[in-house]
């Protein structure tokens, strides 16, 4: 058991190292940031001074090791544009993105599970079929397109909801959240629905497949034979048993929701990490891009690690198979 966990942690560390090299070297190949930071009237000497001050005159591997050394101390360099610590810029925006991501996941579960269960219980009904057809739409329509249509309808045509930005925030235990005020909620709802849509489709499919699998089981027949009301069989016996895959996949999908928040935040001008990333790519603000990518790589790897380890605890076959290979 311990051997398996140690091996998985080493593997995760290896992936993080490889990704850091790829990201750093890759981003380094993008044009020199000095070009956009200086104004054309600067003299050669001034330009050199700027280059030197940013440490860009050193060879790339030296820059990489300086970067790793600093990164381990929680310093990923200063933003070329804002002049602040890149990590600080990102950390400041984490609450906005996480709020959006978590609300979206809640929406997708609250809407997806009942719809999926209905489709699983009545697979041939008109409702069940429409839900499944709808889930194809949810899967396939691009995130930004959905956001655009929602803005088009709710902000431009009927004017009920704001099209952009984050509403006023309330400080809860040092974290700014916006869902506690009406104005904040109004700003939150469209981006959250946009981000939730594809995950809702996923939850619908998982719930439906789960119900179809669980229904023919003996314990369901037994519960029915005991004379339990249908409502109780569905809401206790079926629901409990389909939750395992749904919870696992939802946990794994958190990383992908944060990644897709890049698109949603850009559409709705939501001041989170994703919008910062897109702005920074546009500005060639290298430290911020590298810091964001490293942070999300870290998040994804850790999420995968946690899920894998939990799985190996729950299902010993996983780690035994691994040891054999």
């Amino acid at each position: 058991m311990l051997v398996y966990i140690i091996r998985r942690i080493m593997q995760a560390a290896f992936v993080i190292v490889v990704m850091s090299v790829l990201v750093y070297v890759g981003i380094f190949l993008v044009g020199s940031p000095v070009d956009i930071l200086i104004n054309p009237e600067m003299s050669e000497a001034e330009m050199e001074a700027v280059t030197k001050a940013l440490g860009l005159d050193r060879p790339i591997w030296e820059q990489y090791f300086i970067f790793v050394g600093n990164a381990l101390q929680g310093d990923m360099g200063k933003s070329f544009v804002f002049g602040q610590s890149a990590i600080k810029l990102i950390v400041e925006r984490i609450p906005a993105t996480m709020e959006l991501a978590i609300i979206s996941i809640i929406i997708s579960l609250v809407i997806g599970i009942p719809l999926g269960m209905y489709a699983g219980l009545r697979p041939d009904s008109v409702g069940g079929r429409s839900i499944m057809a709808g889930s194809i739409l949810g899967f396939s329509l691009p995130n930004f397109w959905v956001g655009l249509m929602l803005i088009m309808f709710f902000a431009v045509m009927v004017g009920w909801l704001p099209a952009a930005g984050r509403g006023p925030t309330v400080d809860v235990l040092g974290i700014d959240v916006s869902f506690l005020s009406l104005e904040g909620l109004k700003h939150l709802i469209l981006p959250a629905i946009t981000l939730a849509l594809s995950k809702t489709a996923l939850v619908v499919r998982l719930a439906r497949a789960g119900v179809r699998e669980v229904l023919p089981m003996d314990y369901i027949k037994f519960a029915r034979a005991k004379g339990l009301p249908r409502r109780r069989v569905v809401s206790v016996h079926v629901l409990k048993n389909i939750m395992i895959p749904i919870v696992t996949v939802t946990g794994l999908e958190l990383g992908s929701v944060v990644a897709f928040a890049v698109v949603t935040e850009t559409v709705f001008a939501w001041p989170g990490m994703g919008k910062l990333l897109i702005d920074s790519i546009g500005n060639l603000d290298r430290p911020v891009v590298v810091a964001y990518l490293m942070q999300i790589v870290f998040l994804l790897v850790v999420l995968n690690l946690i899920v894998d380890v939990l799985y190996s605890i729950l299902d010993p076959r996983v780690r035994l198979q691994e040891q054999k290979a």
Partner: protein, 306 residues
């Protein structure tokens, strides 16, 4: 295998013509899939023949009239005399023509990236399954790691490194997508590799390459075909997203995503047509391909055979 199963298998392999007809009949069972197929055919037709069916050449600056900028749908150009059924954009381009040409770029990117990643992914997946052992575990580890990162993120990193351009978008999409094909190809090749016909081919002394690509691969195609249709739609959506974010195709060759992106600036001022109509075209393309893919999966899946 039971007698009836043997019989039905005999019927399937008996005549090539009836197999195809049966396939068509099964596909046509879903009305929705037929609608998707028709939609897909229309879209491919428009994309292929855009220069002949479009009222205007949106790339030809001489044919544009600066007085026709941002006209609502149904207006008639003063100098050009063209009726702009879907309005015009900020450069005075006819939206209908721009959408037809944009569809071309989008479909081209989707189809080419899907085919290239199919070839790479199938070859890698087959190699992994055929040789097994160390080769297999190394390849599949790489695939697993790649698939644990969201496609949009990988593509975004790659394009921020590579820069803009249709060719660069293609490279990014292939790098993002090959792993799906590799996993699928490996899965079905693992089953096939233990079949007797592979053993027979090995006994005949045929080379590894020949057995892999001439004997095993044709039998792995059905699931791969399903993945291709779904991945084409995914690639189109991903390309549109990247172009929307400003890291995709260049302004000179606007895809649907880029058209939506440029129109987005005018959406809030009520000039909806610049953004919404390319959006509708994009949605129709993606949904019709997905409907076809969904039905193909049901028809080609032997587990669901009635």
């Amino acid at each position: 295998m039971t007698d009836t199963a043997l019989q039905s298998q005999g019927a399937e392999t008996g005549q090539g013509g009836s197999l195809l007809r049966r396939f068509a009949a099964e596909f046509a069972e879903s009305k929705l899939a037929l609608v998707g197929l028709v939609g897909f055919a229309i879209i491919v037709f428009i994309a292929l023949f855009a220069p002949f069916v479009a009222p205007q050449d949106p790339y030809d600056l001489a044919s544009l009239d600066i007085f026709d900028v941002r006209l609502p749908p149904g207006s008639v150009g003063q100098e050009t005399g063209i009726t702009y059924w879907l309005g015009t954009d900020a450069q005075g381009r006819d939206m209908l023509s721009a959408i037809m040409y944009g569809l071309r770029v989008s479909l081209f990117v989707g189809a080419v990236s899907a085919v290239v990643s199919l070839i790479i992914g199938a070859a890698v997946g087959l190699t992994a399954a055929y040789f097994g052992g160390r080769v297999d575990s190394i390849i599949m580890r790489i695939v697993d790691i790649q698939l644990s990162f969201p496609a949009i993120l990988v593509a975004l990193i790659l394009l921020s490194i590579l820069g803009q351009g249709v060719d660069k978008v293609l490279i990014a999409l292939v790098i993002v997508q090959w792993a799906y094909y590799a996993r699928t190809a490996r899965g079905s090749a693992l089953v096939e590799r233990n079949r007797e016909y592979v053993e027979a081919a090995t006994c005949l002394g045929l080379g590894h390459g020949r057995i892999m690509f001439r004997h095993i691969m044709p039998n792995c195609m059905p699931p791969l075909i399903v993945i291709v249709t779904i991945q084409v739609a995914d690639a189109i959506a991903l390309e549109a997203t990247l172009s929307f974010l400003g890291v995709g195709v260049p302004v000179t060759e606007p895809s649907l995503g880029l058209l939506i992106s440029t129109g987005f600036d005018y959406l809030l001022s009520g000039k909806y047509w610049i953004s919404v109509f390319p959006g509708v075209a994009l949605a129709l393309a993606i949904v019709s391909i997905n409907l076809v893919g969904d039905q193909l999966r049901d028809v080609l899946n032997p587990r669901l055979k009635r």
